[in-house]
């Protein structure tokens, strides 16, 4: 594959926009309006920058920018390709929505330390875009760690005892695995290959023995614990103590997607499909992923806390993406990559809804929410759409990605996986649908829900309507994402 | 046997320096009293000075001060064999000075310690610290 590359500072700008807004946020701490205007502005600018790169990428060109050569042969280098673009597009567009939602949520609950909250939010977004645009493993690692530490204050925003223990768990898993597994794996790869730049065929081929490659592969797989592959998943439910917008953005979009993005990147860019195929490494990967899918879905069934339910659902859904990449068939990979976008929009809608319910009623548990559809019909409608998207039912975007996954598993002749996909979809339905049913059709037990319609503040509701709408639209117009995913797959597999 | 004896005698200075150094080292590590440790430290330093000065010794040579002093008649031939190697002496002058300086500082510190704990025995001081 001969890719055209152009050098442009745009990717760096996209990262720096949210980074540079941090001091302004700090300085404007006393004036909430200025602060939020700035956040919006930065989000808009960032989205526009990312958007402006889309046509270039769709033309089959890559954008490259080298920040500094930190180690001879390894530079801090940014490269925008189709896959990264896909991810960046999702996360930057969702930042705008989430910012709006955050403002509503934080003001609605009169949370403390809002300045700090917005600062770290911006920081986390920078890191996310950085991960998306990384050209090599080192840059990826840099932004990955930056994200870990930037999200810590967000996760522990409440500063109470629960937040403290969850924060510990979060850090232990995320940072512990990244230092314990990714760092040595990265360095071993470096000393084997002498480079860390992602290439479409990987750079590890032919440099080491099979067991070592296998070991490295699993170190990377588990090392990116943000992907929540079992057994390194339990930080995710714990981290749900964070304020909902944080959960929404970070645990539906940024953090976990960064994890799977990294896994996908490494599997394709470091090892390369051929190497994985030739060593049969994809088989254990997909089985681990399948296991995570099933187990996550089953645990989700038994959850009462809405956010925890969503968390386990996320664990399961993330493994779809890993599964898709692990199938190594073009369709499967397309499906996996599309699922990043589709799941993001669906899941963020669900989180927004959970947050809106919390803002409006203060409820957290499903059992307390029977009949809530009468009071918050818009929210619950959006919730319904979101859950359809997660299940993979037609009017929503999730259908497309699941469809591709199914096709991919057929293409890869993995019938077990097909079975897993179907069963898990059923399970998804089994944990979402009863809630939707109860919300709309059961008599409310709580007198609170008897009154007339009373939605959460507009700042909360509007975003979730938007994301729900996008979820639906994506079914009919998945073009940008689909094309990007296909381009990526084409560059990797040549098909 | 005679070899051994001649070796012992031929390097007597070195053996003694090692012995002194061991005495000093043992005192620094094992003595309990702070001032005793300082004494040991000084013995240790002198042992090393002894080593250096022993290097400089040269059989059949005289002290490293030229015999015919100042003035125009001074420029006659000087044979290196006739004079003891002066370089270690120079180094050891510096080392002695450093030793005195260290001694002064160490004693000052010991006085400070005594003012704080009213004893110079290390184990007693540690016991006092533990009590607090």
């Amino acid at each position: 594959m001969n890719m055209e590359t152009i050098i442009s500072i745009k990717p760096l700008l996209a990262i720096l926009v949210s980074l540079l807004v941090v001091p302004i946020l700090v300085l404007s701490g006393k004036r909430p309006n200025v602060r939020e205007a700035c956040t919006f502005l930065a989000a808009g600018v960032k989205f526009l920058i990312v958007l402006s790169m889309v046509p270039v990428i769709l033309n089959g060109t890559q954008i490259v920018y080298t920040i500094a050569e930190v180690i001879p042969g390894v530079a801090l280098k940014l490269r925008v390709d189709a896959f990264g673009m896909l991810f960046a597009l999702v996360s930057s567009s969702l930042w705008i929505v989430t910012s709006a939602y955050s403002i509503g949520y934080m003001r609605g609950l009169k949370e403390h330390s809002q300045t700090r909250y917005f600062c770290f939010f911006a920081l986390a977004l920078s890191a996310t875009i950085g991960v998306a645009f990384s050209a090599n493993l080192l840059t990826l690692y840099l932004f990955y760690e930056m994200l870990s530490f930037a999200t810590y204050p967000l996760v522990t925003h409440h500063q109470d005892h629960e937040a403290r223990s969850s924060g510990r768990k979060y850090l232990l898993y995320i940072v512990g695995t990244s230092i314990g597994f990714v760092l040595p794996a990265m360095l071993i790869s470096y000393s084997l290959a002498g480079t860390l730049d992602f290439s479409s065929q990987g750079f590890l081929a032919g440099t080491a023995s099979k067991p070592l490659i296998g070991l490295l592969c699993f170190m990377f797989l588990f090392g990116f614990a943000k992907a929540a592959i079992m057994p390194f998943h339990s930080w995710l439910p714990a981290a749900m103590v964070a304020p909902t917008p944080v959960s929404a953005l970070l645990h539906a979009v940024a953090v976990v997607k960064v994890g799977v993005f990294c896994v996908a990147r490494v599997l394709t860019g470091v090892f390369g499909t051929n190497l994985l195929f030739s060593l049969n490494l994809n088989v254990p990967i997909i089985y681990i992923a399948s296991f995570t899918i099933m187990a996550g879905s089953l645990i989700a069934l038994s959850q009462d806390n809405l956010k925890r339910l969503l968390a386990f659902s996320t664990i399961a859904q993330l493994s779809y993406i890993v599964l898709g990449v692990g199938l190594l068939s073009p369709k499967g990979m397309t499906g996996g990559m599309l699922h990043i976008a589709m799941h993001a929009f669906g899941k963020i809608t669900l989180f927004f809804c959970a947050g809106a319910i919390f803002v409006a009623t203060g409820k957290k548990n499903i059992s307390d929410m029977i009949g809530i559809g009468r009071r918050m019909p818009v929210t619950m409608a959006a919730f319904f759409i979101g859950s359809l998207s997660i299940i993979g039912m037609p009017p929503c975007g999730g259908f497309i990605s699941k469809w591709y996954l199914v096709l991919g598993s057929l293409q890869a002749h993995q019938m077990t996986i097909l079975f897993v996909l179907l069963t898990s979809s059923l399970l998804n339905a089994a944990y979402f649908m009863p809630f939707v049913y109860k919300a709309f059709f059961c008599r409310p037990e709580d007198a609170m829900f008897e009154n007339k319609v009373q939605e959460a503040p507009a700042f909360c509701v509007v975003p979730l309507v938007i994301t729900a709408t996008i979820s639906v639209i994506l079914l009919f117009y998945p073009q940008p994402f689909l094309r990007l995913a296909r381009m990526m797959v084409q560059s990797i597999t040549g098909v | 046997m005679t070899d051994l004896i001649s070796m012992v005698v031929a390097k007597y200075n070195y053996w003694i320096y090692i012995t002194l150094m061991m005495i000093g080292l043992y005192a620094i590590i094992a003595k309990n009293n702070l001032v005793k440790k300082i004494v040991g430290m000084n013995i240790f330093q002198t042992a090393i000075i002894l080593f250096y000065v022993s290097i400089s010794v040269k059989k059949g040579a005289t002290i490293p001060i030229l015999e015919h002093g100042h003035g125009p008649d001074a420029h006659h031939v000087v044979h290196a064999v006739d004079y003891i190697n002066p370089l270690p002496h120079v180094l050891m002058l510096t080392a002695i000075v450093v030793g005195v300086a260290t001694l002064g500082v160490a004693l000052a510190l010991a006085i400070r310690v005594y003012n704080n704990y009213n004893t110079l025995e290390e184990d007693k001081i540690l016991a006092q610290i533990r009590e607090k």
């Binding site: - | 005289t62 002290i63 001060i65 015999e67």
Partner: protein
């Protein structure tokens, strides 16, 4: 003549051993001081004798002179201790 000096100095070294014995066995600090003082006075003689053995008398006189002066200082300092700190407790009492 050199031999005479050599043996005399060996003999002086032997005398220093005797003085050192007093300095080592004590029993009081003052006895040690006497011993050390005696070693000092013998050292001065020995230094000059070494000067003769090296045939460089003029170089060693200075050392001997300095030595005599400072030996005096050390003994004086040690004895001054008792002017300010009364009571002669001794190592024997604190064994």
């Amino acid at each position: 003549m050199d031999n005479i000096f050599l043996y005399s100095s060996l003999y002086l070294a032997f005398l220093m051993v005797l003085s050192l014995v007093r300095a080592v066995i004590g029993p009081t600090v003052l006895d040690r001081m006497i011993g050390v003082n005696a070693i000092g006075s013998k050292t001065v003689v020995l230094l000059i004798m070494i000067g003769f053995l090296y045939h460089r008398m003029d170089m060693f006189v200075d050392i001997a002179l300095a030595y005599a002066m400072l030996n005096f200082l050390a003994v004086l300092a040690a004895s001054r201790y008792f002017q300010k700190r009364k009571g002669l407790y001794d190592e024997a009492l604190y064994r």
